[in-house]
Symmetry: C2
Subunit: 574 residues, 2 copies
């Protein structure tokens, strides 16, 4: 007599034609990605594995698989090339690992646009598109093994982002064909900005079948290493190339001493103690680049024409981005890495200050790019000599991240009387104290609010209430002059749902903050519209502990990038 079938076995039984992998070693290997770069994730994700791996080859196979899993509530974890660094492709709760790499046809390329199935490797996409003169606009340094679906679901950008920005910049993704995860999976085409609702969400809100992306003209990319004695000069040279509109480029990577020492396969071109810039620029821009190199005191130690680079099968792209970390980890297992972003325009100074702050412990590696707002800046993927998790957190907290403390004061009837927020920034020498001081009415709703910044710049708000005692109208007074009016809306459960501003210029009411609640009336999401002129928004998500106290806040921008994170620790005073 047979033992009753597990859910997974039932699915395999139902879909025998699908390519199934059940061999424990292979399933274990496919359940991993590159999250081992992080000692913290390595520990937290140890032992997580799928029950089986399915590798479908057609939309129909995918659909039947998704349906079978959905009907049985079996978790699906989507995997492209499995090169993600944050454990996005690691199955947390077993189930089926859906390996997309067999669903990989290149569909078509037209001038400026191309489309392929999600499982195609990025290098393969480029091989198909290049003969017509076009290539992908931005690729991670893992382009040889990463997939288009993985880049869209879990990636950011990479080589090419210095010109075309991140994948999320408007115009880079034109559309996706997506499948919902339910018993009767639906297939829909999302175009433009709508498609971006699935970007960088790790396959958690659906499966991406096909992606249509904007392409860039293929230029003859020559490769150069330029070395410097001086940290700041190397950095400034990278920045000058980044800002030179007449130099067409695909990659500008800054590796500060001692990182070049870890790049063993480039050792001949990296003299001891040097700070290096790795470059991909169009061949015909070489003279302009050389002129800048000489101005900043740089020496070219490596030079390959586009043809030579292609023939060698080696590219400097595979030394930049997180490949820098990979090369270094091969030499020194005691390393890990961190990522930092900087304020465009202040980025050189911030990088330079951060270098001094942690000299010897945090090793500077920066990549120049145009950010989501189109501004030229750099982002860092520093190597860190890892000791303990506590020290890693300490570095994160003091590395220019903003530290913020909030003091809530309540009056005798338990109403909030004032909030004092103190914010300081170790990198920018910035300290700000904001006091919100409330005057409440009989129902405990605020009647008047004073906002005082750094003890001087104060703004007064007056509230008027609705019949439930809720504030519905606020008039802003600034230095005595009335300005915009603000209105408050409440949902049927009497919870504040929208804060709306009357905009004089647009002569209309415009929402500025929107709240969402969970069943226990806790705000779990806050969406802030930046301004009338800027339709961008920010989303705050909140987590609470069992006592109902907020434990985590995460801030996402419109491009779904995590741009801020706050963790709360509570100490109670009498």
């Amino acid at each position: 007599m047979n033992a009753p079938l597990t859910a997974i076995e039932q699915i395999q039984h139902e879909l025998p034609d699908i390519d199934w992998i059940t061999d424990v070693n292979r399933v274990t290997r496919l359940s991993q990605d590159f999250s081992w770069f992080s000692p913290v994730l390595k520990r937290d994700l140890a032992g997580k594995r799928a029950d089986a791996v399915a590798k479908p080859r057609s939309e129909d196979e995918i659909k039947r698989l998704v349906s079978a899993c959905a009907r049985r509530k079996v978790p699906i974890t989507v995997r492209g090339g499995g090169t993600g660094n944050y454990g996005q492709a690691v199955p947390l709760h077993g189930g089926v690992l859906l390996d997309m790499s067999g669903y990989n046809a290149f569909l078509w390329a037209r001038p400026g646009v191309g489309r392929a199935q999600a499982g195609i490797k990025l290098a393969e996409f480029d091989r198909e598109a290049r003969p017509s003169g076009w290539e992908l606009r931005c690729i991670p340094s893992t382009f040889k093994s990463a997939t288009l679906g993985g880049l869209f679901g879990g990636g950011f950008g990479g080589a090419g982002s210095i010109t075309y920005g991140p994948l999320a910049a408007p115009g880079n993704v034109l559309g996706v064909r997506a499948m919902t995860i339910e018993a009767e999976p639906q297939v829909i085409e999302l175009r433009g900005a709508e498609a971006m609702h699935m970007h960088h969400l790790w396959g958690t809100n659906g499966l991406v079948l096909e992606i249509e992306v904007g392409l860039a003209p293929t230029l003859p990319w020559m490769e150069n290493v330029v070395v410097f004695d001086d940290f700041d000069q190397a950095l400034a040279f990278g920045d000058a190339v980044a800002h030179a509109t007449g130099i067409m480029k695909k990659e500008i990577c800054f590796l500060a001493d001692p990182i070049p020492g870890y790049m063993h396969t480039l050792a001949d071109h990296l003299p001891p103690g040097c700070h290096a810039i790795l470059l991909l620029i169009a061949e015909y821009c070489e003279d302009a680049m050389l002129h800048l190199a000489s101005q900043y005191g740089g020496t070219v130690t490596y030079r390959k024409t586009a043809e030579e680079a292609a023939a060698s099968g080696r590219t400097l792209i595979e030394y930049g981005w997180n490949h820098t970390t990979l090369h270094a980890l091969k030499i020194d297992k005691g390393l890990t890495y961190l990522q930092s972003s900087f304020t465009p325009g202040e980025h050189l100074e911030q990088v330079s200050r951060m270098e001094k702050l942690f000299k010897g412990e945090v090793l500077m590696h920066a990549e120049f790019l145009r950010n989501g707002a189109g501004l030229t800046t750099c982002t860092a993927l520093q190597l860190v000599r890892y000791t303990t998790e506590e020290r890693l957190r300490e570095i994160i907290d003091s590395s220019g991240a903003i530290k913020s403390s909030t003091l809530y004061a309540y009056d005798g009837s338990g109403n909030l009387s004032s909030i004092k927020i103190n914010t300081s920034d170790s990198l920018q020498d910035f300290t700000e104290t904001i006091v919100h001081s409330y005057q409440t009415n009989a129902q405990g709703k605020p009647e008047k609010l004073w906002r005082i910044i750094n003890g001087t710049d104060s703004t007064g708000y007056r509230f008027s209430g609705d019949d439930k005692g809720n504030v519905i109208d606020e008039i802003l007074y600034r230095r005595g002059l009335p300005s915009d009016s603000v209105f408050y809306y409440y949902d049927d459960k009497n919870r504040l749902s929208d804060i709306v501003r009357y905009n004089k210029k647009a002569r209309q009411l415009l929402p500025s903050i929107m709240f969402e609640y969970d069943d226990t009336d806790r705000v779990i999401q806050k969406m802030t519209i930046l301004s009338t002129n800027n339709p961008d928004y920010l989303i705050w998500r909140y987590l609470f502990n069992e006592k109902g106290l907020k434990t985590k806040e995460a801030l996402f921008n419109k491009q779904k990038e995590l741009t801020g994170r706050i963790e709360y620790a509570y100490t109670f005073e009498n």
Copy 2:
């Protein structure tokens, strides 16, 4: 008996094979350019004309002509298409007008680079280059009649500068073949940055024969007009497209109401009272652009695919840049125009404030571009309802230009004891007072200097003297801490020639300011090196009146652009 020949007649006699134009009407017409846009230049340049026009067809003809003129000290004025706006091609002192338009061969185009003789029309260059997939990176709106030599000698950029910056950005010009103006003219090839020594100098330091420029991939440029009810929304949409790295573009022109009303040939697409954005973007970026347009409340009223635009023979480029002015002048002769540049990042606010400052008198027209430093911003070419020259100056002075007053105080022995500089900026609400307070030694040379900004932030400098009593060493104290050392060098006439800083990081002495003097020991030029990390420099040129008092200061950046101008008026107090 013949009258003795004039110098011009001798040259014509010596070079009979050259194509000469002597007909008075034709010479008069060719002696003009588009400086009549300015009522001031129109008056000042009235009646200026050449004695004869020569139109050489070969380098040899040009060489013999230049030699003949140089030997007889006959002035040469070089002319390309004669579309310049500042009278650069108007002969101020008669002589020969050298019309380059006959020297116009397209030489070659390779991927990313092309070369032609200076007299080629820009449209003709593009016609030759485009079949190989390449085109000029930036063109003025006069591309149909302007020449490559004229763009290099007297132009800035135009359509395309939103991506590739101005012509002066490193990498855009690869080399020029130039001829010196002397009895034995020399022909030399200047490459890269060296070539730029002849850029934007209006042919005053030599003749340009051939120009080699970086090219851009030809993309299918579609043309759109997007209209808005609101000034700021239209401006913000233009800025959003400018910053969208995934939208490839060639032109973003902002015409605020009432300017669209002057564009009669586009009237069907410009509803009364609208603010319009004229766009050239790559066809495959249309969806992303439309999404932004809807976010900012814009309506597309005109749409031509690249093919349709080419077939129509009409392009929106010929409504932007100074073509806006040209169209408006056709309707209203009472107009002229001004140009303004803005601080990248603050440009939207500055444009918006300037609009309010002169509403009805100065009509806003802005062009988005990446500036010489690679930053995305806009530049304005506002239409002005002209009344008097005084009012025009008033507008210039109060339109955000910086106003500065300086008070010099002398002690009993006639030594400078303090300088008080008050700077205010009508657009940025910026006021700064800097006091330089000196303590002098027996020889009247300063011993100590205090620099106090806005009465609070003070820095002390100490000087030590050489044997002539000159200061040679200055140590900077800032908030009590000694910082860089500064050294002063004097020339053999005992005039301060260089201020040199010891840079700790570079561990070397680096010049930071250099002075040049005239025969009467007056500083006529000051060159400032911006910083160690930035090898850019600024050049100040000075003019004096008969009393030896400074009357004018002009500031040029490395790109030879006039970036500031100060005129001095003196009132004497007892």
